[in-house]
Symmetry: C2
Subunit: 98 residues, 2 copies
């Protein structure tokens, strides 16, 4: 496991749409069509985001009938977010992008 492998996971999580997807999937698997309702983006854009998460190993997909269902591969990803709550609270300029 190289540094670059880990970096890919962080990169995958470093986007608001993808992070919200992960938080959504933490509550249970969802098909692409349901995820789409969460955002005001093109379905092709959503599909790309999901594939980034998949390539990073964060989610897995399964086709059932016409739909594709995504789920988290590793529930521990939630712990990461909990930790981040603490870290992000220490930002010098909360709310202002770095």
């Amino acid at each position: 496991m190289t540094i670059d492998d880990k970096v890919q996971v962080f990169k995958a999580l470093a986007h608001p749409v993808r992070l919200r997807l992960v938080e959504k999937l933490a509550k249970g698997e969802q098909c692409v069509c349901v995820c789409l309702e969460m955002f005001d983006i093109d379905i092709s854009t959503l599909s790309r985001h999901l594939s980034v998460l998949k390539n990073a190993g964060i989610v897995a997909d399964e086709k059932r009938g016409k739909n594709v269902y995504y789920r988290l591969t590793c529930p521990c990803i939630l712990q990461v977010c909990d930790c981040l709550e603490k870290v992000a609270g220490k930002r010098k300029k909360p709310g202002i992008p770095v």
Copy 2:
């Protein structure tokens, strides 16, 4: 705490130089000049990476004499990396950048 705040933390960690810096600082604070020896990059580039980590709230700096020392603000960031070991292990194509 917004999604964007969390995203900034992930973005900060989503770079090989910055991630290696975090892993280094996890063992204890270091001055910039020591960190510089870890990489083959310009010191101005290193300084920028450190400021990204600082703005994200991941590290804090302190000037003592001529040197500036950086340290992690939150040791829990290590748990994040441990979790990632598991997640990254599930990547479809291990070792190949997404």
